[in-house]
């Protein structure tokens, strides 16, 4: 088991390295750098001005060198201005070149400076992740139990009325992407045209003061899309368990139906949904980006859109590191959990 986890962690690191290099490469293509220079300076910059801006900030070095600097394994670039002052990535405002360290990359714990938010990347990512964490917490709290209940009720008696109705509902939710269900919810529950006005159409206030009124719709929108998938998986695994031999034995012994479901079937039926729930995290990340844009909730997904739209290289890299980390860690947890929950795999 230890070796397995070690190997997985190794692959994780390799994946993270490859992906960040890919992001680095794409964001450092010249047209992207030009856009960055123009958003930072002004949009009427001439080609020479763009060139000198990029030169001054060290963007014109070879990509592997810049990547090494970002990682913190190469000394970072410094540029001596005409008036003799030295500027560079590691030299924060108010410090001199001598006081600053030579290496400053993520290995040293420095994530860079966001050009969009004019703040250190680590603080941006920290606060935004906190906000998204709150959103995700409520999404999980709503999505997982309701999906499991839906799936179990549907899978309990395959082909019954409950099964058909709930399965249709589950298929409908998986067919409704967040930007469709969100728009429909906003139209029905918040607009003055329909007149229900039960909820708020934006979740901007929910960042400081989340209430049921301003926070429920974004949570529901994300939860609904993921719910159908988990419910269908739970249903599939439940129907499989309900046809197993030992359930038949229990029925023939005269155990009551609720007892069979609760005591005999559930435990085995919940193994598969566990891994599915874990693997849903990367999907939820997509939903988070859409919903945060739709409801103007300034969390992690919103920051991603801002960073990508303005080619904020450092922030974008940090965001991709975080999201890749989330994806890989959930994969690892789902693998370990699967082995742990299913003794048959542990032995073989």
């Amino acid at each position: 088991m230890g070796l397995f986890i070690l190997k997985r962690v190794g692959i994780m690191l390799l994946t993270a390295l490859c992906l960040t290099f890919l992001v680095f490469f794409l964001t450092n293509l010249y047209p992207n750098l030009e856009k960055l220079a123009k958003t930072q300076g002004n949009f009427r910059m001439s080609d020479e001005q763009v060139e000198s801006y990029l030169e001054k900030n060290g963007y014109l070095q070879a990509t592997p060198i810049k990547y090494g600097e970002w990682l913190g394994i190469l000394p970072s670039y410094r540029h001596t201005n005409e008036d003799g002052t030295v500027q560079g990535r590691c030299i924060l405002p108010g410090k001199t070149a001598e006081e600053s360290p030579k290496f400053c990359g993520i290995l040293q714990g420095y994530w860079g400076y966001s050009t969009v938010f004019k703040e250190e990347v680590s603080t941006v990512v920290g606060t935004r992740l906190g906000l998204t964490g709150r959103l995700m917490f409520w999404v999980m709290l709503l999505m997982v139990p309701s999906a499991l209940i839906l799936g179990i009720l549907a899978g309990m008696r395959e082909g019954s009325a409950t099964d058909r109705t709930l399965s249709t509902f589950a298929i409908t939710t998986t067919a409704t992407p967040e930007y469709v269900s969100g728009v429909i919810f906003i139209a029905i529950f918040t607009s003055s045209a329909v007149g229900l006005k039960w909820f708020k159409g934006t979740a901007t206030q929910a960042m400081e003061n989340p209430t049921f009124e301003n926070f429920f719709l974004p949570v529901l929108t994300i939860a609904l899309y993921g719910m159908g998938y988990i419910a269908r998986m739970t249903r599939a695994s439940m129907t499989e368990v309900m046809t197993a031999q030992y359930i038949r034995t229990a029925r023939l012994k005269g155990v009551s139906f609720p007892n069979i479901v609760m005591k005999h079937a559930l435990r085995n039926a919940l193994i598969a949904p566990f891994t599915v729930i874990m693997l849903q995290f990367p999907w939820l990340l997509n939903g988070v980006v859409i919903v945060e844009t739709l409801f103007n909730y300034k969390g992690f997904g919103w920051a991603l859109v801002q960073a990508a739209g303005n080619n904020d290289i450092q922030l974008l890299l940090a965001i991709s590191v975080v999201s890749v980390f989330v994806v890989l860690v959930t994969q690892l947890i789902s693998d370990i959990g699967y082995v742990y929950l299913n003794p048959r795999i542990r032995i073989s």
């Binding site: 990367p282 997509n286 991709s320």
Partner: protein, 487 residues
């Protein structure tokens, strides 16, 4: 011109529909509760050998459900039929049903033909045994026909890009202020915030989806199959490497990837063209290997066949990737492609990058599915038999394993077209790739959502259209799965 109301002179159907729908909902709820509360069906064998079902309440509920469902469907059909007959005097619904007339006709012909010959049509024919599959297929074909006829300018009432002054954000059914000759007199589903016709934009949007989604899914399948079969069949280092690469792409959040790939800056660097040049080779390899592995024992037949098929495929490939005589045409350097007089079609950079990134995002998942299936099937006896016969590995992969994996692959193909539709919508929603005035559903939803609290009509039609298409594809996949499991 009078503004149109929703139902016009067929408004007498509204209370009937309300009653029918209400009864249906009620009977569904009762049906569900009854299936939990009531004991299960007990068949009693009578003395004369006949069977009696004990729970007559169940049968009663099911009958109620069936009739209320049929009544609702009947009323809905009545709306459409009366609408076709009466046109605009039956309100917006009537006018829309009349505009969709070619679609209704094609659907009726398709269904009549398919049901008549369903025993001769294999899996496709079996689809018409499952109600779910039929509903799904109907929804999908509705949008496919809408897309095709919309592209032929049969359904649309106005040009999707023209702005008519005075029609900004007008509600559905508003007549045009200064009517010119030959112009349709109303905006059936209202005007958007740039005073364009919402209805026509929705119909034109269907064409974009119908064009891109199935084709992109097919390319993703070609890539996934060409790489997944050897990975599963050979295993070992090749499998490790390819799986690592697939997981690498899968670990990327899709939206981040789109934001990195689908920008005008990236298009300017020519990265999408390189990716297109690589990704679109796979169908050629696939075709070549497929035919060669089957017919290599008959060189006299194989050589002309390969020359013909690959010639056409390579020509299409070169026309696909070269634009204006160049494969890659950036400021710094260019690569020569097919000369313009041989170039069959040009794809604008914006569409190409959307296409490429959708294929790129989808193919690792297909790869994983195919690899899993190949791993499973290669242990079967018929594969061992083929190996003993001395068949080559590619013959076994493409002519033994692949046909036996077709069931799950067809089901996944339907689901994946739906997913691709969602991805295209996501791209439009974030304003990536497609031009801003493009009528595709995602962009229209994005534009409409800004004024959603006051004007609902610009955003809702494309949203519901996308929902129904994806739902149709999911139901179709479900029906296919059910039917393919039956044999």
């Amino acid at each position: 011109m009078e503004p149109l109301s929703w139902t016009g002179s067929i408004a007498f159907l509204n209370p009937i529909l309300a009653i029918a729908l209400g009864l249906m909902v009620l009977s569904i709820i009762v049906w569900m509760l009854a299936s939990i509360v009531l004991p299960e069906d007990q068949m009693i064998v009578n003395a004369d050998g006949t069977l009696t079902s004990s729970s007559s309440i169940r049968i009663l509920i099911q009958t109620a459900l069936r009739y209320s469902f049929l009544a609702s469907v009947g009323v809905l059909v009545a709306y459409v039929v009366l609408g076709i007959a009466m046109g605009t005097s039956a309100g917006i619904i009537g006018a829309i049903s009349q505009q969709f007339l070619p679609v209704w006709l094609s659907l009726i012909i398709l269904y009549a033909m398919s049901i008549a010959f369903k025993r001769k049509l294999g899996l496709y024919g079996k689809l018409f045994d499952s109600p779910i599959g039929m509903i799904g297929f109907g929804l999908v074909m509705f949008w496919v026909f809408t897309g095709i006829f919309g592209a032929l300018d049969l359904i649309v009432t106005h040009d999707p890009l023209t702005q008519v002054s005075g029609m900004k954000n007008k509600v559905p059914g508003t007549p045009l202020p200064n009517l010119e000759d030959g112009q349709y007199a109303w905006y059936l589903l209202g005007g958007d915030n740039l005073a364009r016709d919402v209805f026509s934009r929705m119909v034109k949007g269907a064409w974009i989806v119908v064009q891109i989604a199935p084709l992109a899914t097919m390319f993703a399948f070609m890539v996934g199959i060409t790489l997944g079969l050897p990975a599963g069949y050979y295993g070992g280092r090749l499998d490790t490497l390819l799986s690592f690469l697939a997981n690498l792409i899968l670990a990327f959040p899709v939206i981040l990837l789109f934001y990195l790939l689908v920008t005008p800056e990236i298009v300017a660097t020519g990265v999408p063209n390189y990716m297109a040049a690589i990704l679109f080779v796979f169908p050629i390899i696939f075709l070549g290997v497929l035919l060669n592995s089957r017919y290599y024992t008959r060189p006299n037949f194989r050589t002309p066949l390969l020359i013909g098929v690959l010639g056409v495929a390579i020509w299409l490939y070169l026309s696909l990737i070269s634009t204006g005589g160049y494969i890659i045409n950036t400021d710094s350097y260019r690569i020569w492609g097919l000369p313009t007089y041989l170039d069959l079609f040009d794809i604008p950079g914006g569409i190409l990058v959307v296409f490429v990134s959708v294929v790129f995002v989808n193919s690792p998942t297909v790869f994983r599915i195919v690899r899993g299936l190949a791993l499973d099937i290669k242990t079967r006896d018929y594969v061992a038999a083929a190996q003993t016969r001395g068949e080559g590995p590619w013959y076994i992969m493409l002519w033994e394993i692949l046909p036996n994996a077709r069931g799950p692959l067809i089901v996944d193909f339907c689901l994946r077209i739906g997913y691709t539709t969602i991805l295209l919508g996501t791209l439009g929603f974030f304003g990536l790739g497609l031009p801003p005035e493009s009528p595709d559903w995602g962009s229209t939803i994005n534009e409409g959502r800004k004024l959603l609290s006051i004007y609902l009509h610009p955003a809702l039609p494309p949203a519901l259209a996308l929902l129904s298409l994806v739902l149709g594809l999911n139901l179709l996949a479900d029906g296919l799965r059910e039917e393919s499991l039956k044999d």
